[in-house]
């Protein structure tokens, strides 16, 4: 048996309590934490993403699944740390300066985390300098930016410019999203990727990791 069906179902159905219990039970039954993540949680989040793309799931289901995932991760994360295991890919994410819309960003963060990436969430209203400082501190491979307002979208460009000025731009891939962002704008400002959805963000990161 390589996967915990209970954990998979609990994440898929967005049941945080069950996810916690299932994780505990699986650990007691001798599952390795990393196996639980890759064999149960990631497939569950993939299915959540697929259901969202298929228009079966919407924002509430995504947030609930994210919450369930996190309640399992609370148990798993310390174990990974003591075992010296590390997620291979690190992502920093934030809503850009001037913008407090963070619901979409939160969903992207939890989908990425549930897909087995290490996510550092900088929150909302994140100034370019803070993105730069976080890249220096956490040394991520990816920087994700979210913006929901016509007037804050230009902050994505300012942030990319700041990464350039700090000589960090080539060390990271920059992904952008949020309802009013367009693929064209993403290209214009020199972002490496854009997606209109959180599951698309996961696909982007996976694809770029595979290429790199």
């Amino acid at each position: 048996m390589s996967q915990s069906r209970e954990l998979y179902d609990a994440v898929l159905n967005g049941n945080a309590k069950k996810a916690h219990e299932a994780t505990q039970a699986a650990l007691e039954a001798g599952f390795a934490p990393m196996t639980l993540i890759t064999e149960s949680m990631v497939p569950a989040m993939d299915e959540v993403g697929r259901l969202f793309e298929a228009e079966e799931y919407f924002v509430p289901e995504l947030l609930l699944a994210g919450r369930a995932m996190r309640s399992a991760m609370e148990l798993l994360r310390p174990l990974l740390a003591t075992a010296g295991e590390k997620m291979s890919v690190k992502v920093i994410i934030g809503t850009v300066k001037g913008d407090l819309h963070d619901i979409g960003k939160n969903i992207v963060a939890s989908m990425l985390e549930g897909s087995g990436f290490e996510v550092v969430d900088l929150g909302s209203d994140v100034a370019p300098e803070r993105f730069v400082a976080a890249v220096e501190e956490y040394k991520p491979q990816f920087v994700c930016m979210s913006a929901l307002l016509t007037v804050t979208i230009p902050a994505m460009k300012t942030t990319i410019d700041a990464l350039n000025a700090a000589g960090l731009r080539t060390r990271v891939k920059v992904l952008v999203g949020g309802a009013p962002v367009t693929p064209r704008y993403a290209r214009e400002i020199g972002a490496d990727g854009y997606s209109e959805s959180a599951s698309g963000a996961v696909t982007l990161v996976r694809r770029m990791v595979a290429i790199a």
């Binding site: 228009e55 919407f58 947030l63 001037g98 407090l100 016509t150």
Partner: protein, 505 residues
């Protein structure tokens, strides 16, 4: 323009087409989106236009469709007309229904110690409504409505801010439109006007007054200049008596402006003993709840779904729009404006349709369309797709969660609210049953009332009152700063479970 061509301009959208002289309008203006509901037979009257410039011959069909007086005012059926000269036409089917308010003195209980004439103006993001009053009697002497000319720079306040920040002079644009409106109202009595009172949201306030909108373009979206802005006619270059005062009333905080202040006054919230609420179901989604003991307000940024703005087959409430949907005896029935074929759906139709879908079970409480097609047919050929329903869920959740959070801030529960007034055009047309059905408003039906143009009504009351009567404190709550917003928003995104409707016997 070559000699054998003429130019047709259609108002209020100001779209222009050049056509060969003598061409029937039927073939030339449908490309501009003008509709001929009966296909041009001359029977429906849905293609009615008014000739504003140039001339159009009167046809036989015109004689039976219009009175001599209407014909003299330039009314014609577009489907019968030919473009013999360059013309400018006003298109009734493109007219947004601009709500005005006809309450005069009696309803307003003015202090009535003023004299002379006064003008009240509701400067909306989309529409403008203005009235001239006799300040002594409170009588309405003239009414003007129009579209906000800034609309060419985007439909929501954020786009206007961006346009202003990138150098467009939206101040001059709106001031000259308002000047024209004021002169139209006054018709020669300019010098008798003692006072002009304007209300509108914070962005309209700033743009009219020529204040810097930069602080409104970034978090925390607070401007330091929310106070009343007062002008002399000279400052605006309006040809009124130099004693006249022109006042744009003060904003309440964030994006919530004096239109909501006026609405609060209009529905009597400042003197209410029990909690009363005002919900403006526009793009900004403003909510105020309170009583004589104090009032809280907030804006929830619902977006344009209630105006069917982000709906695939969405359209304004004009000919061809589904405006009502009923579900009875397992049957879906739709009403189309103008009785022609359905071409799309407007905001009230959208809310009805989804409420009906919830009743029939075609739409699940999660918002999912139950069958695999992900298409919800409303009335041939109009359908809603899954994304349309998602848009409505976001918009209604923004309003409902904002309402719940304001109640929480007041330490009150939904049962404590005695009356809820719905303002704005959509608030006036939406079926209250359906609004309850989709969970947009969470209250018993008997508590919910349409408020009409409460902003204009309140502006008149404030214009007529001798002194600023003492209002209770009105505090603005920034929902962005509410840590519970996300949870409440997501809770409100699903639809209420429908109670089983007993079959009629």
């Amino acid at each position: 323009m070559s000699a054998d061509k003429v130019r047709i301009r259609l108002e209020p959208l100001s779209v222009v087409v050049e056509v060969p002289r003598g061409e029937p309008l039927l073939s030339s203006i449908s490309q501009l989106g003008f509709e001929f509901p009966c296909g041009g037979t001359g029977f429906c009257g849905g293609c009615k236009v008014r000739v504003l410039a140039g001339s159009v011959l009167v046809t036989e069909q015109d004689l039976s469709a219009f009175s001599p007086e209407e014909l003299a005012h330039g009314w014609r059926l577009a489907c019968q007309a030919h473009a013999e000269t360059s013309i400018v036409l006003e298109c009734v089917q493109w007219h947004m229904d601009v709500l005005t308010d006809d309450s005069g003195q009696s309803a307003l209980k003015p202090g009535l110690r003023k004299h002379g004439l006064g003008i009240a103006i509701d400067l909306g993001t989309t529409t403008i409504a203005a009235q001239m009053l006799d300040l002594a009697s409170g009588d309405i002497l003239a009414v003007e409505t129009d579209l906000n000319p800034q609309s060419a720079w985007g439909s929501d306040v954020m786009s206007r801010i961006r346009a202003a920040l990138t150098g467009t002079d939206l101040t001059t644009i709106v001031r000259s439109k308002l000047q024209a409106i004021v002169l139209n109202l006054a018709r020669g009595r300019e010098l008798e006007i003692d006072e002009v009172v304007l209300v509108g949201n914070t962005v309209m306030h700033h743009l009219f007054a020529g204040l810097d909108v930069e602080p409104l373009s970034r978090a925390p979206f607070e401007s330091a200049l929310l106070g009343e802005q007062s002008f002399s006619p000279q400052e605006l270059n309006w040809p009124l008596s130099s004693a006249c005062r022109i006042r744009f009333l003060h904003c309440l905080g964030g994006f919530v402006g004096s239109d909501i202040l006026a609405g609060i006054v209009a529905i009597g919230m400042p003197s209410a003993d029990n909690l009363t609420a005002l919900v403006d179901l526009g793009t900004n989604g403003e909510i105020a709840i309170g009583s004589r003991r104090g009032i809280l307000c907030a804006s929830t940024a619902a977006g344009p779904a209630f105006e069917a703005g982000t709906i695939r087959m969405g359209m304004r409430a004009v000919a061809g729009a589904i405006s009502r949907v009923f579900y009875s005896n397992a049957n879906m029935q739709a009403t189309v404006i103008g009785d022609g074929e359905a071409r799309g759906i407007c905001g009230s139709g959208l809310v009805d349709a989804v409420a009906a879908g919830l009743q029939s079970g075609a739409i699940l409480p999660s918002g999912r369309i139950a069958n695999r097609t992900k298409i919800f047919p409303v009335c041939e050929p109009v359908v809603l797709d899954q994304a349309d329903i998602r848009e409505l869920q976001l918009a209604k959740a923004a309003i409902a969660s904002g309402f719940r959070l304001l109640l929480k801030c007041l330490g009150a529960s939904a049962d404590d609210v005695q009356s809820i007034y719905l303002a704005g055009a959509f608030g006036n047309y939406v079926q209250i049953d359906s609004a309850i059905g989709i969970g947009l408003i969470e209250a018993p039906k008997t508590c919910i009332h349409a408020a009409g143009n409460a902003a204009l009504r309140g502006a008149k009351a404030l214009l007529l009152s001798k002194e600023e009567s003492a209002l209770p404190e009105i505090a603005h709550v920034s929902l962005a700063a509410e840590p519970n917003f996300q949870d409440e928003f997501v809770n409100c995104m699903t639809f209420p479970r429908m109670k089983h409707i007993p079959e009629a016997h």
